[in-house]
Symmetry: C2
Subunit: 478 residues, 2 copies
């Protein structure tokens, strides 16, 4: 049962399990109490803090345990923003941060009257340090940058951005959720956050490190625990397990990174050979060792995940149809890459090579099966040929000639990947130099139609409002 | 090694341990994912929610899991206050709520510009429902009342207060942290909070129930998990353990409550017989079954806890010297009872009778030993007699006659219990009708000198500012 979604949550590491069970008997009491059960719990907590601080590369008194990575981000951002509110209310984030960062930034804007600048990324999902240099202002209270992207694996230039921030006197918060198991974050960061269940620790434990000298003022209700930065009774057995497993994964990180990087490299190389019309996204070199993401044209992401699950592979997707809001992943959107048929593979520690090979065997059939069901115009299954199985999906959109030589495809009311499939189906009938306008009210079309043009070497002219939804206009250039 | 501090944190219940271990393999994945590991985790979470909702007495979709009881209180109060902000910004709490409630109320006042009314308690620590009726206003957004007090065990008239609140259209949040293991909270409450480690569940799990129809708007960063009311990745194994152990303790609650109530009754009856100058506090009848609190005159709380710990008993205290802020417990202060030498006994499930008997054997010697070290004027060890062991504590305060027939005792710079001891030492030398002014800058004196008068049948005249600190004036009436 290959589980390829470690970036969501990793299975419990054996060391975490051992440490959890061993500390259940000693770690349940209140560590602030003076009696022996409290002192024992306190010793466990101190030792875990020491271990975690070593792995982070900070002093133990700079590190607190939070109930989750999300809490670490929320507390870290609100504490830093509140601590520097006299400097100003401006925050800088990248456009591909984890939703916890972006949501905290939104809350800062709506609740505290702050302003937020988003630094864009390139097609690989990486920020340019100059983008941060340009975004920082005299009233900037905090900048945030992830160490590596959670959806496409691209590593960010944290050291360079940290230097720029230091030069301007602005603290940098680094969300290290995806990378901390692989190694410490280099550079002059001011705050750092992480989440234990990403490295095989238990759920319920986040880390927040705040360097000495960083102004920090937690704005919420007072609480004496964890230096006033993380309210609530500590879950010490889970904290002990988190720290022990972080040390354990670090001990094997170099060897395991090399091994998984080779497996990921195999996926990156083989998928485009095995599956037509695929875009592998994320930086080809500066990336996490265990994570690879690709998108498949003419594929419904939810159907793809479902078929992969039936074939025993658990993966994740940034496609709009797998999101509760029916919008594509903000990361893929910021990168300007295809979102339909999106698959994220993130290999847990110890993934056997055979599972990756099996995935590569299974994937082509799964993708072509989904494409067939949607009547996609791929070489192996021409869209005009009768479908070999009953088609349970909506029939093709109505087509019309909008006049002026522009072919109009009405895909209103149809969700990803139908608008792109309809575009592809008629495109061969359009003369070179002619245009097609795809009418769509699906948010994914705004991303996927330009991405289709990029992949197929055609010209994306732009969008214009239509009676219902938007007309996305494409010119045939070859 | 008797542990008598279940009200701080209970040892892990065997059912919690089993459930935790059993769900480590199935509960680590993201329950919002579509693949099998996610679905399994989701099923565990759904089942735990169903179990917990049955125990609380609400619908499963009214209940969310939070990372702690403190988070449940903070989220519950801020969500209810924010949800009803158009009604007004006034909140009502009792003066003996848990610090998480009072701190959230303070944050509401300072951060959101709200106002807070505190409903007083009687000498037993109970509110009068009429106090709530008087405190509610047209702009009251939320009222809060604990089900039972965490320091003295007194049960509050929740049903009556809930009726009053309902009649006035104000939601009532009930902090049920201390009582939920014993039974559901009766009455028409609107929100309810609790904490699993108080009933033998693991740390890291709180409950927040919000009745349908209660206006609720979480003011912090958006998060899709737990109905948007508790951000962060859920700790499902801990949640499963929390729910399973709640059901387990409920199954034994009636029998165990009767058994522990008898043991607590023994402590309540025997301690005043065995130890002179003791005040047992909290309601004699309407109280939690497992909790009893008493205070010992002329005793340093920290020394008492230390000696009890040496004798293998782990207990808690609301004395100022055991607090990081050097102020007595706000609960004892609100009740107007003695805080020095304060001991809270809260028996875990299964406490053997023999441990209670052994405690009653040990306590008198421990208290008299501490009193001797502090030169306390007790019958068994007159203050004027030479101390049998070297005294490592400060020598007696300077005494002076302030003129006008008032005896002045200068206890400036001396901490609890010294000011009361110094008062007691000179009191016998003051003629009936004469007064003593105790000069003190110890916050505990404000509570303990009037409490001493109450216990000894003397008249507490009042306080007046002095050059340094405060003069507390006592008149000898017998």
């Amino acid at each position: 049962m290959p589980y390829f979604d470690a970036a969501s949550s990793a299975p419990l590491h054996p060391v975490a399990r051992q440490a959890l069970q061993a500390s259940l008997d000693e770690g349940w009491a209140d560590p602030s109490r003076l009696y022996r059960e409290g002192r024992r719990a306190g010793l466990l907590l101190d030792a875990a803090r020491q271990t975690a601080a070593e792995a982070v590369g900070c002093r133990p008194d700079e590190l607190v345990f939070t109930p989750s990575g999300t809490h670490a981000v929320h507390s870290g951002m609100s504490g830093a923003l509140h601590g520097r509110r006299r400097v100003g209310l401006h925050a800088v984030v990248s456009s591909v941060e984890h939703s916890s960062v972006l949501h905290a930034a939104s809350a800062h804007a709506s609740g505290a009257g702050g302003t937020v600048s988003e630094v864009p990324v390139d097609r690989y999902g990486a920020v340019d340090p100059d983008g941060y240099a340009a975004a920082l202002r005299a009233d900037t209270a905090l900048a945030c940058l992830q160490s590596a992207n959670h959806e496409v694996g691209t590593e960010q230039p944290v050291s360079a951005v940290a230097e720029i921030c230091r030069g301007r006197g602005v603290p940098l918060l680094v969300d290290a959720a995806q990378s901390l198991g692989w190694g410490p974050v280099e550079g002059a960061w001011s705050l750092l956050t992480a989440s234990a269940h990403k490295w095989g620790g238990p759920a319920g434990v986040g880390l927040l490190a705040v360097r000495k000298g960083v102004r920090f003022a937690a704005p919420g209700p007072a609480d004496e625990r964890e230096s006033g930065r993380a309210p609530g009774f500590q879950n010490i057995p889970a904290i002990v397990a988190a720290a022990a497993s972080l040390r354990a994964v670090r001990a094997e990180a170099a060897a395991e990174a090399a091994r998984l990087r080779a497996l990921v490299e195999r996926i990156r190389a083989r998928v485009p050979e095995l599956v037509p019309e695929v875009e592998v996204v994320g930086h080809p070199v500066r990336r996490l060792p265990h994570l690879v993401t690709f998108s498949c044209l003419y594929v419904d992401g939810e159907a793809l995940l479902h078929e992969l699950d039936r074939a025993d592979f658990s993966v994740s997707s940034g496609s709009s149809c797998t999101s509760s809001t029916l919008t594509p992943s903000h990361v893929l959107r910021a990168m300007g890459v295809l979102s339909e048929g999106n698959v994220r593979i993130s290999l847990p520690l110890g993934t056997p090579e055979a599972e990756v090979d099996r995935f590569l065997e299974v994937l082509p059939g799964v993708v072509s099966g989904v494409r067939e069901r949607f009547g996609a115009p791929v070489a192996s299954a021409p869209a005009t040929a009768p479908s070999p199985v009953p088609v349970p999906v909506p029939a093709a959109g109505r087509e019309d000639d909008g006049g002026g030589g522009e072919r109009v495809v009405d895909a209103l009311g149809r969700r990803c990947p139908i608008p792109v499939i309809e575009l592809a189906k008629v495109f061969g009938e359009v003369p070179v130099g002619g245009t097609v306008a795809v009418l769509s009210d699906d948010e994914a079309a705004r991303l996927d139609i330009p991405a289709w043009c990029e992949m197929r070497g055609q010209e994306y002219v732009g969008e214009r409002p239509a009676d219902h939804g938007v007309a996305y206009v494409v010119r045939r250039v070859s």
